[in-house]
Symmetry: C2
Subunit: 319 residues, 2 copies
DNA sequence: CCAATAGTGTCTATCAGACACTATAGA
DNA sequence: TCTATAGTGTCTGATAGACACTATTGG
């Protein structure tokens, strides 16, 4: 049920119950919403992080998020609000249009009693796919927000892993093993030069560790993203309104961290009904290193890909 | 971040923050855990429901659940506790063994401000797959708990549907349209006689409506279950330790509500590495209506099915 | 004996992926 | 001119599903 009555409850109708109910009589739980916002910048996957201005974990990077405004908003609205605040899109003129293009879905809820030292905090995590957005430096609130390449982050569990800790178990496409850490990052589109990476995120030998259990949340979000683009057309959420098939392929290559066969990918995408719609036009110029102009497409009306764009099978994922 | 500091926070270290923090100064939010517990009884899918003993929705059926014990347990533990309490497994001698065989995973979190009339209640929903368990009538707590066939329940949204209401959007295998309601239930294993169905759940012309938004949670759980057994070996969680391939097929047919080809299913299951392990023995007797004895199997060590047991393609699921 | 079922063999349409090839653009 | 890329054609191995067939059991 949604909320069991407290032990002292003897009311027989609703108003009596409401009158007798005192929420302050119980150990409080805080509910926050955290967002794993992913985007593609210069060909590699980036996540939005904020620098904590106060303890705990002061100075550490964390996922953007904050308290649910009790009684005022639902979880989706809270996630969208937090994302808008931290991306600096809130005050922008095209905030409405930009936010409407961002895909936002619930990822999972994390409720270890000690995940926050202050009190028991239950965090509802969201996953966002966004097209390349401007740097959130200017006009945001006190906290510093920046896009970080995911390869510069340490996603390993802090120490001993707790196997049953509220992790959503619905990633069917592959385990965490596909991306064991920044050290194993192979060459590919994800390792192109990231000149505009935030000044605090060098992909050096010291990967950034995240506050709280946010490394785990981010790892779950990456798993979800990798599985999601197999069965849904959401890879287009990383792109502008008009895009080319090679650009779409770059999304898959960045998220999966694997090179795909250009010809087969092209034919496969066009064979899935409702995935992309042709605009009838082409790009103005060819590729940066030559080649013909590419035709442009828009996202189609399919919500599910049939058949799916299955990730190349990797034997070690079966476990 | 896990919990943003309150507006009045001016502390610079952790102890100062903890001393200054007063959780009662803010609008409270309650966190509950609800469980969609599914099992197979007499060949059809059943869900565990409890009859509410107090308002709101007094007398209505609801998902088993209750408050998260703040500071004492994590979400997984709360869900397991609620499930053990309501199934009556808590006091049983084999409670430990029985509970260990039940698969439990997080489903999604529901946080509409008005989903409970008393206060803003955020509910973390869990999905459980259980083998056929004894009726929970005896020895349970005050509330009446019973297994209900899902076909006897009204899963349509109460009135106008709110499109963005915290529903996890990761069911890739098919929408709600595959199971539009009890009225369209076709013949098949799901419509076998359910003589031992709970006394309060006749599959008559008046389907049962659930309390709160539990119809939606249950619908999401069914969607998840249908998608889950495609890519994971969790269909075995509905069966006893030893089972036959035809029994496993009955699980798929009940969950998907579709007849499967016996021969092809048999070969497919055996072709997936790690799905089932042969025990080397057969059943004592043949089927109820004749036929040879079936070989028995146990669940293998695979966590993911490669290749997957894809559901028969239905054109209307693509949308 | 008959009906139902467990399990295997086989054929075919489909599809993923490899490979090859052209056409077009930038440098 | 050289290289890289967009996009298409074609071949092959794997597979899902249809169909057929046997062997074995209960009634």
């Amino acid at each position: 049920m949604a909320a069991e009555q407290p032990p002292a409850d003897t009311g027989t109708d609703e108003s009596a119950w409401l009158a007798a109910y005192d929420p302050r009589a119980y150990t409080p739980v805080a509910v926050t919403v955290d967002v794993v916002a992913l985007t593609l910048r210069h060909g590699s996957l980036h996540v939005l992080l904020v620098e904590r201005a106060a303890p705990p974990h002061q100075g550490a990077w964390a996922l953007p998020g904050g308290f649910l405004r009790a009684g005022e908003e639902n979880l989706d609205e809270a996630a969208a609000r937090e994302l808008a605040e931290e991306t600096g899109l809130l005050g922008a003129a095209d905030a409405e249009a930009a936010l409407s293009r961002i895909h936002l879905e619930q990822l999972g809820t994390y409720g270890e009693p000690n995940r926050d030292p202050r009190m028991h905090v239950v965090s509802v995590a969201y996953l966002a796919f966004a097209p390349d957005l401007p740097d959130p430096e200017a006009g945001s609130d006190a906290a510093t927000a920046a896009w970080h390449p995911v390869t510069a982050l340490d996603l390993r569990p802090p120490s001993g892993r707790s196997p049953a800790t509220g992790v959503p178990a619905d990633t069917h496409g592959g385990g965490v093993g596909g991306h064991t850490g920044p050290a194993t990052e192979p060459t590919g589109p994800a390792s192109e030069p990231t000149a505009a990476a935030p000044h605090t995120a060098e992909a050096g030998p010291a990967p950034i560790t995240l506050a709280f259990d946010h490394a785990r949340i981010l790892a779950d979000g990456l798993d979800r993203a990798r599985a999601k683009i197999e069965y849904s057309p959401l890879a287009t959420a990383f792109l502008q309104y008009d895009f080319t098939i090679p650009e779409l392929r770059a999304v898959y290559e960045a998220v999966w961290d694997e090179k795909l066969h250009p010809g087969n990918f092209h034919r496969k995408v066009l064979s899935v009904p409702g995935f992309v719609d042709s605009t009838g036009t082409t790009t103005e110029r060819g590729g940066a290193r030559g080649g013909p102009r590419a035709r442009t497409y828009r996202a189609g009306d399919a919500h599910l890909l049939h058949p799916a764009l299955l990730r190349p099978t990797r034997e070690d994922e079966i476990r």
